[in-house]
Symmetry: C2
């Protein structure tokens, strides 16, 4: 079987073209079109500073149905006032002409620099051109994925399938995100954009519920710099073309599990491609008083620049991890807690546990580090993904604008 | 008049010696002794992971009176269990022998690596030696200030005087803090240590109230990496030796103003000496719904790695500032807000304001950058100090332990 991709679910076509918004030669306009009206759900940034395409997109998703998504990279269309909203709507008009639908059936999305007017002449030409290259092959999926990237070094895609009787359902997705990552979509935060496709038949309210639940444990659990972007968006389109209907609790559970898998894979890829990242750091907090408190602590550890620098230096400086856990509003008692770094216990119930620093440091050198904090206070657990903080992060972000 | 320093208030002696806790030749044991019982107040970290000297110090400050402070750098005595508390108490015993008082009359304090047993043989010898070098000259004040430093590059001191009739009152202080800075002493957070002296006569409850109020607008308003330390401590000792009594609301106000000035000077020095800092960034949020909401937003901006990297790159990337303000629980409406960078308006009421990027970038090159965000939502304002995020911060913190 060929590898699954964004356009494996039946009913979708996509394209990506270079319109000259980015200074590189990479694609910067993407179109994703469903041949028929798709059931759709989306989650947006909770930042109070929201980009124009988010303002427009919230209106367009309200009816739970879309024909497609038009997206550009290189300009966030944020803090651009009423003109920005007109520009976002204009993008929907052009994409709607291509998909033969009303503008309201299109979700607009943007990522890039904040506060710059949209270069609409380039964008309009780009959308028209993208309409001429639509297709459903792997190369089309890849061009769309590339068109949403900014400082990302790697394309991020995931896809799974599961069966309902003799019918196969595919869920696939692409996303971007490397810096300004700490999505908190109406449940997430970064500029994180994720676009998901499926050929399942599913009701809009259920799709929305399952997307939100998946986002909490995936996009909202990844942080590079804890900066909720003005543009964060996760959107799923269900074409229904498989003919397989998610009509029972059992099927909803199977769909949710598959959706979780896709979203968590994408979130993990975001952490791995975090600006300047040399490794993924997976932080699991167990036996907290509640899942929410476990999330608070996992996130505080993941966002500590001191912890992230220690990880960059392969430094088993566990005191920084414990003190980050103690900083939040969540209950934490070091006298009851235990901490493992890559499987080695370094702290237990109020006391350091002697370990061989050189060996533990060596164990931190891999592409992924496991941090496991057990609170022994209750039944709540959560996992959060981040990356280390390197000099390259500073270089990338000190020189981005000028 | 000679410059004022920590020991200018009458009644105090101090010293600092090198005991070999730090690997450098710098002083690492400090003693500050008041010749008579001083009225005293202290504020400690709100982190739930508290170092042993904080556990012991909270008991010792409970009666509002101290004879002195014993402090070491190079080891935080944190996450060291019951033995750590015994070690902190032992430090008080030795200092008490020198001051001829009970151990409970001494406040212990430590800063340095977390989770390592205290090298008590060195520390005991160091305290005894420090007792032999006590004095009240500038050189003694400087040695004490140096003894509390860790990654600090600069000694941090401040002092002011004001008059009550014909009597002069001096308030002075020293502090340390460079990384793990984000004090939240029971109102602050980092390892921030601040020790203040005054020769005023003042009641302990009033002294505590004024210290807490001063801390909110100084130590708690400075952040390098938003990491509340296990050891943060601010402590003030009032010898009463001036004979001037703070006995009216008017005098309390004058004392508070002088104390604010000393604490804010120290906090500003912490930001300027933040790990890897090339500049101070002063963030003022005005006309928020409340002072608390102004603080929340100022702090979110100050803690954004993206904003801090932009400042490092002299980059007027104001979208990062606005989006950081929009991330918090505080009400923020970009359509009503205005933002100035070094006096240049870059955003106003929902729209970018055109500016000359090269000129504004040049204006960011100085040792201090003013960021002013006006919300136009109410009467709350707050200022927060931070520093830029440089590659040196990563170097310092990736290589600290190993």
């Amino acid at each position: 079987m060929a590898a699954l991709h964004l356009l494996s679910p039946a009913g979708f076509r996509a394209s990506g073209v270079h319109a000259g918004i980015k200074t590189t030669q990479a694609p910067d306009i993407g179109l994703l079109i469903c041949d028929t009206p798709a059931t759709a759900a989306a989650a947006f940034t909770t930042n109070q500073v929201v980009a124009a395409p988010v303002v427009v997109g919230k209106k367009h998703i309200a009816h739970g149905s879309l024909r497609g998504v038009v997206v550009n990279s290189g300009n966030a269309n944020a803090c651009t006032g009423k003109q920005g909203e007109k520009d976002a709507y204009r993008m929907c008009q052009l994409a709607g002409t291509i998909a033969r639908c009303a503008p309201i059936q299109i979700l607009p999305s943007s990522t890039g620099i904040i506060g710059h007017p949209m270069p609409m002449a380039k964008i309009e030409r780009g959308i028209v051109e993208a309409g001429q290259y639509l297709g459903n092959g792997l190369e089309h999926a890849n061009l769309f994925a590339d068109a949403i990237m900014t400082t990302d070094l790697k394309r991020k895609t995931a896809a799974v399938h599961f069966s309902v009787g003799t019918q196969r359902i595919v869920i696939a997705g692409v996303c971007k995100g490397s810096g300004m990552i700490g999505p908190r979509l109406a449940v997430p935060h970064a500029t994180m954009l994720a676009f998901l496709t499926t050929d399942a038949q599913i009701a809009a309210p259920l799709l929305r519920k399952l997307l939100n639940a998946a986002a909490i444990k995936s996009f909202n659990a990844v942080t590079v710099d804890d900066h909720a972007s003005t543009n964060d968006t996760a959107c799923i389109l269900a074409s229904g073309a498989s003919g397989a209907r998610i009509a029972s609790a059992r099927l909803a559970k199977a769909f949710a599990a598959a959706l979780d898998e896709v979203c968590q894979s994408l979130a993990h890829q975001i952490a791995a491609d975090g600006e300047g990242a040399t490794k993924v750091v997976a932080i699991t907090v167990q036996k907290a008083r509640s899942e929410q408190e476990a999330q608070l602590m996992a996130r505080a550890i993941a966002n500590s620049p001191l912890v992230k620098c220690a990880m960059n230096g392969n430094d088993p400086n566990w005191g920084r991890i414990l003190s980050a856990a103690g900083m939040t509003a969540a209950k934490f008692d070091p006298a009851r807690a235990a901490l493992k770094l890559q499987g080695t216990v370094v702290f237990s119930r109020g006391r350091p546990v002697p370990f061989e620093p050189a060996a533990v440091s060596a164990s931190l050198r891999g592409p992924e580090v496991q941090v496991e904090l057990t609170c022994n206070l209750g039944g709540g657990s959560a996992t959060c993904w981040t990356c280390d903080l390197s000099k390259s992060y500073v270089t990338i972000n000190a020189d981005y604008h000028t």
